[in-house]
Symmetry: C2
């Protein structure tokens, strides 16, 4: 293609604004929990837009919505999508951008009368956030075989309402035959949810994959004692020991490479009173990396740091590694299609991995998958202040359009 296709940015921004009115919060954000009345309204609006674009939306047994624009051949489609549910007081872009970006791709192909070789489809995955019905990404998980539809149907919210009943209530209980698979590829446009692109002054990025995550619980046991009469050199203070380990965990990530991250998010001290030396401290250690071998090394480093601190400070410690999510590298052919689009469009893109989960993680189990990230102001997401500049959104949508056309042949 000498002159790459470009989206109608004004129309995309208008649709994003229209969708953001459903569940709008006073401070400029959105609360649109999965299978709520707001979710239904948003789904209905999406259906109207799809029909206006000449497509008929279908919904499957867990409410995933898909619509396929035919190609010259009837092979498996190139799927583009994300989700329209949000967290409580979330932003206008997380999820919505991927679904409405896909809609804009279809509208643009219609505008220009482009016929692709393979079909191009839009998909809206139910309950990506997992805020109302835990865990997250339940319905891309059903399609990829990670969860059964029965398991997902039995999830309940805090009010005790079942997923299956709420899905039926909003009128989006469909048929398993409508699951949007098989697919030639899956491509998801999403805001970055982190500050990397902003720090590199780049509008968008090619996502290399979704990092592996491993969660550990560290418990340090010293000796609780009066804060007054215990000289410093005779103490077995669990909190000062924990402080050393927390700084050690930070160093494990910092001395590895720029992409390694490690976080202590949760901490609890016992007895946690002002005038008693803490006898026990428990805290979490979250390590993330794209390389599974590095992830294992980091857990080993954690054991080493804890052993060193325990020996120096005469405390005891245990480490429980209780959850691991393997790294998910994305398909190189899909990444190359995005890079090709960037070159054709003259858009400078970064290369980064996603530190958070997305529906694309589960789709990668069943088809070639990739993601495009759009710069997010301050790296903020899951909050009302979430913001991406209109020009960045336009750049991301143009990358999605041209990569999709490449993948669809």
């Amino acid at each position: 293609m000498n002159q790459p296709l470009t989206v109608n940015a004004d129309r995309l921004h208008a649709s994003l604004a229209d969708l953001a009115r459903i569940g709008a919060t006073p401070a400029g954000g959105v609360t649109r929990l999965a299978l709520s009345d707001e979710d239904r309204q948003a789904r209905d609006l999406l259906g109207t837009w799809l029909r206006d674009a000449g497509l008929e939306p279908k919904f499957d047994d867990v409410g995933n919505i898909s619509a396929i624009r035919p190609g010259r051949e009837s092979g498996p489609p190139v799927l583009l999508g994300s989700h329209i549910d949000t967290v409580v007081r979330g932003g206008r872009y997380d999820g919505a951008l991927g679904v409405l970006g896909a809609l804009e791709v279809i509208r643009t192909l219609n505008d220009h009368g482009v016929e692709t070789r393979l079909p191009i489809g839009l998909v809206n995955w139910t309950n990506e956030e997992g805020v109302r019905f835990e865990p997250a990404m339940t319905c891309s998980g059903v399609v990829s075989g990670r969860f059964t539809p029965e398991y997902v149907g039995e999830r309940t919210d805090r009010a005790g309402l079942r997923f299956a009943a709420e899905l039926a209530r909003i009128g989006y209980q469909g048929d398993a035959a409508n699951r949007p698979l098989p697919a030639t590829a899956y491509l998801e446009l999403h805001i970055e949810q982190g500050p990397v692109l902003e720090s590199q002054n780049l509008p968008a990025g090619v996502v290399g994959g979704i990092v592996g995550i491993t969660w550990n619980e560290v418990t340090i046991t010293g000796q609780a004692d009066h804060a007054g009469p215990s000289p410093m050199h005779l103490r077995r203070d669990a909190l000062t020991a924990a402080a050393e380990v927390i700084l050690g965990i930070e160093q494990i990530a910092k001395r590895r490479d720029e992409t390694a991250v490690a976080t202590v998010g949760r901490i609890a001290a016992q007895p946690n009173v002002i005038n008693t030396i803490p006898g026990q401290v428990t805290f979490s250690a979250d390590f993330r990396h794209s390389d599974p071998a590095v992830l294992e090394q980091q857990v080993q480093s954690l054991h080493q740091v804890v052993a060193e601190v325990s020996a120096t400070r005469s405390v005891e410690a245990t480490i429980e590694r209780f959850w691991t999510s393997e790294p998910t590298p994305f398909d190189t052919r899909v990444q190359d299609a995005i890079r090709l689009a960037a070159a054709a469009l003259g858009i400078s893109t970064g290369e980064l991995w996603s530190g958070a989960g997305h529906d694309a993680k589960y789709l990668a189990d069943v088809c070639p998958t990739g993601m495009i990230f759009v710069r997010s102001q301050g790296g903020l997401s899951h909050c009302e202040a979430e913001f991406s500049a209109p020009t960045d959104i336009e750049a991301g949508a143009n990358l999605l359009l041209n990569a999709a056309v490449t993948l669809a042949g």
Copy 2:
């Protein structure tokens, strides 16, 4: 005195065992909360013992019990005492040793027909622990003028019961005229509640005073963010900042001198979830020292450490210094009387300050005051495992006896 007087150790141990049966816990400790039925039983037993020793116990308007053994002159007595209330599942010695040590002094003087120049009195202070009725040391506080009897009478326990009502219920509501003042001196025998004497292999110690304490609340504010997509070098992690400050607080005490202590006992992180970088961490900082100038320097050092860490890590911080208890040095004449007794008895004694509060702190406001500490196994107190060896208890009681005789002339 060529041959110093010595107590009847078997009798003292027997009385300690008898008192420990009142409120005894299955694991060998004692629960005898202030103004409980157990406190009444213990008071009644003490009264019987005092009458058996020829003295008539009196009780004042807040239930403090005193009994005076007359001297050749009718001047203000040398008071010996402590408290018989305990914490929940406390030990057999904390408080009891000082009261029964005083009783043993009186019994020994009786045995030997010793007539002192000034009277020697025993006192049992109500509600030293402050566990049932906060704050601690309420009734030595009334006698020294720190609290009004009305304030103390209005204290309520967790069940809403008033101090004054409970004092009347157990039959120990007396007259303000019976307050055990003025006094020539006040001397309190107590277990150490710390490991210093044990670490120095000494049975007992002369207490230089009660350290000053200052309490601070530090709040560090960074930026809460996703644990995944935030590179380490772009984070403003309030918990890693707090960890550095906590280790800095430890160093403030360690690099000062062997008696300086600093403790972070309480910590809370926000939002305190595993996959979010903590945006705010609040923690306490407890500094103790015998020298008020050092205490001020330590608070200044805290400000310096917090300022340095805040600058390095781009976080904000506030420090609220919300409570200070000034250091209370004990009277040198009283300390010398204890040292003289140690020399006469051939007992090796240490010199240390008390890191915890005692009734002696308030008595020091109104008369020359001192304390004798007895070695406590493992430095443990306020627990059922609290233990002091019989020979150490005997040494402490002999120091109390001979120091009291010196002070009474």
